[in-house]
């Protein structure tokens, strides 16, 4: 029982007007299951934006779980998107690898309305391996933000989801092995090591990251799934890998997916940046993933946006729900008319082949104008799927 959730229940329960013929939950679930929906679902990843929208600063919510949850629910109550993303920042994911006295060096607020800057924990592959072999994440776990902030926030939102009779799903974000393996050392190092380090040594590191992530899934089964969580975003790393890296090192994420989809009914993959065609194809083969939040075409593809949307939709036909548009950049720096145009373009290119969810490939920036976020939502509401 949490006070912030109960306050919102008093304001919202039984008082919300329906949006369309389906509930938000039904709409998202249908799109994920490749079934018709009354309108195209819209579920932008509002991470930092919703904090600012709700009138809080980021340093203000950093140590206040109730305010974080309040921001998420307040934003949803106003905008009525088809899902509520739990707020996740890098400290939620990785702070338990760092001793308490060292944490201020690694997490720095970029500004009052801004993201959290993270500095990597290990400089060498040996250091990174040692972090896992010594199980630092257990040693420093108690009192770290995954325990003190991420989990309580997740549980509050799931409590809201259940008390609202599942009218809207909560999206819980979970980092994948490749994401953790890269983040701990910084992506540029890991990517180089795929070529310069002995393969067996790098695979050992990746196996350790996989082991920790599989253990984490046991936690999510106990604390998220048992409290009603059904929609999960797997934050993929491997965004700058080439085909060789996917072939040699993709096994860790695949093993992670195999376990995640046995726990959660609605799993989607987040792959932001320049998407390699081979990575997109792999995501159609990994059983159990229902949807893919994708981003831009790979550099060498040289595709226009409509060409890219259509090629992905054809690839996903009968297999995956496609999630994209507008770009994060356009949502922040474009006009509402441009946002509308790109959302329409995505829908028109996608719906002939598969289902669609309006969800930019990356999070909505804190400084994105409200009218652009509204334009994204309003345009989705115009389209039956």
């Amino acid at each position: 029982m949490s006070k912030v959730v109960d306050e919102w229940m008093g304001r919202l329960k039984g008082k919300l007007k329906p949006v369309g013929e389906m509930t938000h939950w039904e709409r998202m679930a249908a799109a994920f299951e490749l079934k018709p929906t009354d309108m195209v679902p819209v579920a932008p990843e509002l991470d930092y934006w919703q904090i600012t929208y709700a009138g809080y600063t980021h340093p203000e919510i950093y140590n206040d779980v109730d305010k974080t949850t309040d921001a998420c629910i307040r934003t949803w109550a106003d905008l009525r998107t088809d899902a509520i993303w739990m707020y996740v920042d890098i400290s939620h994911q990785i702070e338990h690898f760092i001793p308490a006295e060292k944490r201020p060096e690694h997490f720095i607020h970029r500004g009052p309305n801004d993201y959290l800057l993270f500095k990597p924990i290990a400089k060498t592959l040996d250091e990174a391996i040692a972090l896992y072999e010594e199980r630092t994440f257990e040693k420093y776990g108690p009192g770290s933000r995954p325990a003190t902030h991420y989990t309580p926030h997740m549980l509050q939102l799931l409590e809201f989801q259940e008390k609202m009779d599942r009218v809207v799903p909560i999206i819980v974000g979970i980092g994948t092995p490749s994401n953790f393996a890269e983040t701990i050392v910084e992506v540029q190092k890991f990517v180089r090591w795929t070529i310069t380090e002995p393969k067996a040594k790098l695979k050992h590191y990746l196996d350790l990251a996989l082991g920790e992530r599989l253990e984490a899934l046991d936690f999510y089964a106990e604390h998220a799934r048992k409290n009603g969580c059904e929609f999960v975003c797997l934050f993929g790393g491997a965004r700058t890998w080439g085909p060789k890296q996917l072939e040699e090192f993709g096994y860790a994420d695949k093993a992670f997916v195999d376990k995640a989809v046995k726990i959660f009914p609605h799993v989607f993959w987040h792959i932001c940046g320049h998407n390699l065609p081979q990575a997109m194809e792999a995501l159609t083969r990994w059983d159990g993933i229902q949807a893919v939040q994708y981003d831009m075409p790979y550099y060498s593809q040289k595709l226009s946006w409509p060409e890219w949307f259509e090629s992905v939709a054809r690839l996903f036909a009968g297999k995956r729900c496609a999630m994209n548009a507008p770009t994060t950049q356009l949502a922040c720096h474009g006009t509402a008319a441009e946002v509308k145009a790109m959302v329409r373009q995505f829908i028109e290119c996608t719906l002939p082949h598969t289902t669609a969810v309006i969800m930019p490939g990356c999070e909505i920036d804190s400084f994105s104008p409200l009218e652009n976020v509204k334009a994204m939502i309003d345009t989705a509401r115009e389209h039956r799927s």
Partner: protein, 233 residues
């Protein structure tokens, strides 16, 4: 007689081997081969432009053709630098090298990723630009100081994350407030940049591809030197 002076075929062979080592990501071989080129009497400028830089151009072509990807490009860049380390001590001011322009480049405050910059700097150097690498997490004021100190033609604002790119506008604004905006052209770079968004933030252009950026930088330098208004690219 040196390879440069007597046997053009031998010189071409040495330089081609050096370029191939950059493509092959051979960090050990590149230093040895660069030294062999110098020992054969080839000028440092030629070793860089026709050997190391030619290798980087080949890497760019292979990247555009989808034959190599970011991991290979990054390691090739490291190999290029290893070769440069061997050649740099031998460079003398009178060896005929001509800079196409001066550029300062850094990853902006709040972003510690080096992926884009690590590719961009050697590609720009290989294309003939004099590049000052300011590093990562560079504050807006540090960009201003660097403009005053180095007097570049072009300022490169590197951003890796989508969220970081959004702050390029603040850096441009700081440069403008310091009264330096009209002295330089500004280009944003990184995987998440967008030219239209960059222009809206007050920069002149943006590119997510270092090889494409070379052309854009060339046009920006031309416009600057011709005294043309901004946004000319």
């Amino acid at each position: 007689m040196t390879a440069q002076g007597r046997d053009p075929a031998e010189a071409a062979g040495l330089l081609a081997r050096l370029a191939d080592l950059v493509v092959a990501m051979d960090v050990e071989g590149v230093r040895r081969e660069a030294e062999a080129c110098l020992a054969a009497g080839l000028s440092p400028t030629r070793v860089i432009s026709e050997g190391l830089s030619a290798g980087m151009r080949s890497v760019g072509e292979k990247f555009k053709a989808g034959e190599v990807y970011m991991p290979e490009v990054l390691v090739s860049c490291d190999v290029y630098y290893k070769g440069l380390e061997a050649v740099r001590p031998h460079i003398v001011p009178s060896d005929g090298s001509v800079s196409r322009g001066k550029m300062i480049l850094g990853t902006i405050h709040g972003d510690i990723h080096t992926v884009g910059k690590d590719v961009a700097v050697p590609v720009f150097q290989a294309a003939g630009y004099d590049v000052v690498d300011l590093g990562v997490d560079v504050s807006d004021d540090a960009f201003v100081d660097a403009i005053q100190r180095h007097r570049p033609d072009v300022v490169g604002l590197g951003t890796y994350m989508t969220s970081t790119f959004m702050h390029a506008g603040a850096t441009v604004e700081t440069i403008r407030r310091a009264g330096l905006r009209e002295r330089v052209r500004i280009i944003c770079g990184g995987p998440a940049v967008d030219p239209a968004a960059a222009r809206r933030m007050g920069a002149d252009d943006a590119s997510d591809d270092a090889w494409e950026a070379v052309g854009k930088i060339g046009r920006l330098v031309e416009c600057l030197r011709a005294g043309a208004g901004r946004r000319a690219s």
